[in-house]
């Protein structure tokens, strides 16, 4: 692209749009950075359930756990493909595509308003959920003495161009907590997802109040004496105990078919219950348990791995589709293996593209300083990839590519190998 073309593109983009307020990260102590102000985080932490896993419970209880979200982290992708390189907010691809003619407009094939298209848009299985908020957590690895083992980062090329890489050390934990709001506006956690780095990958687990439909039916019966008297509750129990309630469903991303194979399965769409107290009680008082490898419901034709719902507030909110996805590392890798894959692999004519967001199979985390000028702008300034000083000051980043035989850091194989 010539300078003239670049200038043309830039003119279509609001360089200095008003940016939503977001604060500076604060170093609390070595290894601990505050992304979200305690007062903002408090209602989300207060809503956390107990978890039947000592390590995860200690993470949720710990004041050293680093919490972040889209607002505080600013979810971004890198564009390391010449000639226009830089750091972009996930909303930029669509904005640039929608304001230009072909071939630049082809970006809208891969981006929707605000972010990437499925399966790289949002928290897996929640693309169609409106009643959902999520908070992410990060627990950096520590050695036996309790000292931080930093994220290792390096650049592919000298200067500021090329891809900026990083690897998380063994023992690092990432997680996300999924919340929904009841009709009175109160927050309830309905799922907690955890990824823990080992040398060759990320071990995964997911925690929910019930591992299968029968367990939920039994819980309703045992916690509510007159459950049969409420028609909706009785209907819910009957539905939970009926194996033939599964309906076919699928997840497909034809634009990304090179890396994402269509998932076909089924969902168990639970009926609504007007009396929210049953659901509130389960979500707030039950200890969440691991559902790794569990089947929610199964019959001769189908099986599903999580509940679904027709109600905005239920054991999961309406539109939730993770019932199509088994909880295990191989299953989760179907999307996570594609962090940093160049979008140009999907269409050779694509221009001004970049890489799928994320690095080292984690989508949300990055090491850059959230810069007001990258939000909603096509920032071509190659200096836009600024290292987050708070992470450096907290000892969480270390520059240098680890040795290939490192026992602490290992680059993971990708579905498509890029040359940056």
């Amino acid at each position: 692209m010539s300078f003239k073309e670049l200038l043309l593109v830039s003119c279509f983009v609001p360089w200095f749009m008003e940016n939503p307020a977001f604060g500076e990260q604060k170093v609390i102590e070595e290894g601990v950075v505050e992304f979200i102000a305690p007062a903002v985080l408090k209602p989300y932490k207060d809503a956390l359930p107990k978890v039947a896993n000592a390590k995860v419970q200690s993470i949720l209880d710990s004041d050293k756990t680093i919490w972040y979200d889209e607002e505080s982290m600013k979810f971004v992708y890198q564009d390391s493909v010449e000639t226009v390189t830089g750091l972009r907010h996930n909303s930029v691809g669509y904005l640039v595509g929608s304001r230009n003619r072909p071939p630049i407009s082809k970006l809208t094939t891969y981006f929707k308003e605000g972010t990437f298209k499925f399966p790289f848009a949002t928290v897996a299985g929640t693309d169609d959920v409106s009643n959902m908020e999520s908070k992410n957590f990060w627990v950096p690895a520590r050695d036996a003495a309790g000292d931080i083992i930093p994220v290792a980062w390096w650049q592919t090329r000298r200067g500021v161009r090329g891809h900026w890489n990083w690897l998380h050390p063994v023992g690092t934990v990432f997680g996300e907590v999924l919340y929904q709001r009841s009709s009175d506006g109160k927050l309830y956690v309905f799922e907690i997802r955890v990824r823990q780095r080992y040398l060759e990958g990320w071990d995964v687990d997911v925690f929910r109040p019930f591992k299968n439909a029968k367990q939920m039916a039994d819980a309703i019966k045992s916690t509510r004496e007159n459950w049969q008297e409420d028609k909706q509750v009785a209907n819910l129990v009957a539905h939970l105990e009926d194996k033939n309630t599964l309906t076919p469903s699928s997840m497909d991303a034809p634009e990304f078919k090179k890396v994402f194979t269509k998932i076909e399965g089924s969902l168990d769409i639970l009926p609504a219950v007007a009396d929210e107290n049953i659901i509130k009680g389960f979500l707030s008082r039950r200890t969440f348990i691991s559902v790794k490898g569990e089947v929610w419901k199964r019959n001769a034709s189908f099986e599903t791995y999580a509940p679904a719902s027709s109600a905005t507030f239920n054991i999961v909110p309406k539109g939730y589709k993770l019932g199509l996805v088994e909880v295990n590392e191989v299953s989760c890798n179907r999307c996570h293996e594609s962090t940093t894959v160049q979008l140009g692999h999907f269409d050779r004519e694509l221009q001004l593209y970049g890489e799928v967001w994320g690095e080292d199979r984690i989508f949300t985390w990055h090491m850059f300083k959230p810069n007001p000028y990258i939000y909603n702008t096509f920032d071509d300034a190659d200096g836009s990839r600024l290292i987050n000083k708070a992470l450096v000051d907290a000892g969480l980043l270390k520059r240098g590519q680890p040795a290939a035989d490192s026992e602490m850091y290992q680059a993971l194989p990708k579905q498509i190998k890029d040359k940056f």
């Binding site: 823990q196 080992y198 060759e200 990958g201 071990d203 790794k292 490898g293 569990e294 089947v295 099986e303 791995y305 088994e326 909880v327 295990n328 590392e329 191989v330 299953s331 194989p413």
Partner: protein, 142 residues
Amino acid sequence: MRWGVLVIVLASNFSCSDDRLFEGSKSQNYIPELAMTDTEIIGSLKQHCSACHKAGSNRFIFEDKSPKENMKWLRSTRAKLASTTYAESIRSTLLWPGDRVPKNSDRVDQKRRYMPFGAAKSAFHAEKLRGSSLRTALIENL
């Protein structure tokens, strides 16, 4: 002389070293300490394989079957990714290349990895059954 060579070859094929456990076929000398009941075998498979094999298209653990029924199924059903029974296929994924934890990238063949996959394999490697390697015991009993 040729008969002598044949005798030596046959003898070496039937020798009983521990290494045979990792060469792809069952040991000829049965080790009583490694004997497992159906309940123990299925329990072990549930513990170490269920994350990927209690659900989905590669299922071989069934919650609605008894251990005996599960074992019968494993020994009589042709595996999806191999031309053998599930029991034999599982066994071959446990025949790690040397007595070391295989890498995720190590493969039995084009379709199959050594098992368990992922972080679980280190725990599995350390797991003992009555003082012996659980993996060895499963290889012997499947």
